[in-house]
Symmetry: C2
Subunit: 338 residues, 2 copies
């Protein structure tokens, strides 16, 4: 058996890659939220100077990538490959955002788990000895996501309290074979989990089971408890999904709550901002990771984080055809210690 | 610099993984074509017993995967991870096809380049020491693709001669850390290339530039000519794209034509079957690779193949917004020699 595979499905990285640069660019609502000081760039214009929301989403990608490159003092040609993807049909948010850069690309689709998936693959590619520098990028945009997945904004549809607010923003992280950290130490890809949820306005409930499965497997594979991490942070379970996740662990006799945080709950102030159950979208966990979380690790706030982004693998077509919502969660363990 | 990175963007695999099992399942039209004897399974029913074309596409995935597992004498739990993706919005063709299997999954989006991309990532994961067994899977379906990308079939839209026919089928390949071959020796991920083509019924022209860029880079990175391969096979350039590709090489003084083949031209008989410029879709290169090509290598027909699948990274939305068609090509060198 491969010696880097520990337990059932966790990969241990023997030469943990270091973050060389990371940046995020977000929209107005995110800039009005509690994490405003952690974002590298905030625009007040939802169109970001473009003519459509889809083009705006690509502009967020360009901005995040160029800022991450600048912070790492790298040119695009210094990066050997990029892993990227987003929520738009055919992942055009990131494709068109990366178009001019000329970096060899692997397109990825993991719904809202994409930031963890791209980061995982970038890390594996470096630890596997294939590249020295690899990038992970993702994005989402409230307006492009609403009209694609739900109804056009002009329709003014009502949203139930369990619905979440897609974050407008992009995050980019560059990993390098050497550097001062933080480091990617472990990767646990997720299995598809389907608990039968059919309500596309109740994603947190669908994804909580996937988060539970991946986090539980990761801890078992490593033979540790939640206290191995200062923070176990999910992508966008929101208020309801987060409670379900903690309930699942409580049923196992494990108190996850004190160490658990959710990017969807961190990014907005639900008392002051009208986002229902919290933030969501690939851009949510991406901009929280590439700002607040990695900055916090550098500042000594946390030494070990388990970044677990979750994705709901549905489409409007599968929902119309009466299908339930398969979900997945990918976990990436990030540490200040090599 | 990483020693497995040769030249600009080619990864050399030091412990080339072997194909352990591969299978394909296709529809009626493919079964009527010249490669009929190479397919593991042919159904006459475009619905494959399901109630929608999307569900049928997932049924093709299930069939190809179960046949590949059976040929490799493996259970799903023996496979450490799967890389999969398809053309449907949010890649639901493969997601729903893989749902019950419980294999840790990395979702991928590379349009019609997906079979090469999934195969490349599965190979890197094994050579990188993370897994012993990894699977690559993709699919497409003529009816689900037409209604999503162009017009519903009931509309009876006319198609220009440059249009291609999306293959109905799925291919699955399982790679293993050891085995009798054929082996994956090199991987060259592609850069996004955009030559300004805007006609969504002229994909071959858009993708030919990407194929040229990746194949040329691969040969330069390895320091070899086309004669290093018995066959340089593109995914689905079709008749027009294939001619453009050979023209590009001819302008460099390189005669690619005698060694070039295209899965989109191999799978149908354009004289007898009404497919315009040839076959296309992820399922095209997947079912030709997992049947005709790998069987041919086992039979001694070819010892070295450069499998280069190409993808057009557009969406109906980007086309409606007047965007051109970015393309990408991923190359995987497969050899009978370790």
């Amino acid at each position: 058996m491969s010696s880097k595979l520990i337990g059932k499905q966790t990969f241990a990285l023997w030469n943990p890659p270091s973050f060389a640069g990371h940046a995020c660019a977000v929209g107005k609502k995110e800039g009005d939220g509690p994490l405003r000081d952690s974002f590298d760039f905030i625009t007040q214009d939802p169109f970001f100077g473009e003519k459509s929301w889809e083009k705006a989403e690509s502009a967020f990608v360009k901005k995040a990538v160029s800022l991450a490159l600048a912070k790492a003092s790298l040119a695009p040609t210094d990066v050997n490959c990029v892993f990227c993807g987003d929520l738009l049909n055919q992942c055009t948010g990131t494709t068109f955002g990366m178009r001019e850069l000329g970096i060899p690309m692997f397109g990825v689709y993991g719904a809202c788990s994409t930031m963890a998936e791209t980061l995982a693959l970038a890390a594996l590619t470096i630890d596997g000895g294939f590249t020295d520098k690899a990038m992970a990028v993702t994005s989402s945009h409230f307006c492009s996501a609403e009209r694609q997945f739900r109804t056009p904004l002009e329709y003014g549809g009502q949203r139930p309290p369990s619905a979440q607010w897609t974050v407008t923003g992009s995050g980019a992280a560059i990993l390098s074979i050497d550097g001062p950290g933080p480091y990617v130490k472990f990767v646990t890809p997720g299995k598809i989990v389907d608990n039968g949820t059919t309500d596309a306005n109740h994603m947190g409930a669908a994804m909580a089971t996937a988060a539970y499965d991946t986090i539980k497997t990761h801890l078992e594979d490593r033979g540790v408890g939640p206290d191995a991490y200062d923070l176990i942070v999910t992508g966008d379970l929101g208020a309801i999904g987060s409670r379900i996740l903690c309930d699942f662990f409580a049923a196992d006799g494990v108190d996850l709550a004190p160490r658990h945080a959710d990017c969807g709950l961190l990014i907005f102030d639900r008392k002051k901002q009208d986002v229902h159950a919290g933030g969501s979208g690939c851009g949510c966990s991406a901009s929280v990771l590439c700002g607040y979380l990695l900055n916090g690790m550098r500042e000594g706030k946390w030494r070990n984080i388990l970044f677990t982004a979750t994705g709901a693998l549905l489409s409007p077509t599968t929902t119309q055809q009466g299908e339930s919502i398969p979900s997945i969660a990918c976990a990436v363990a990030i540490s200040c210690d090599k």
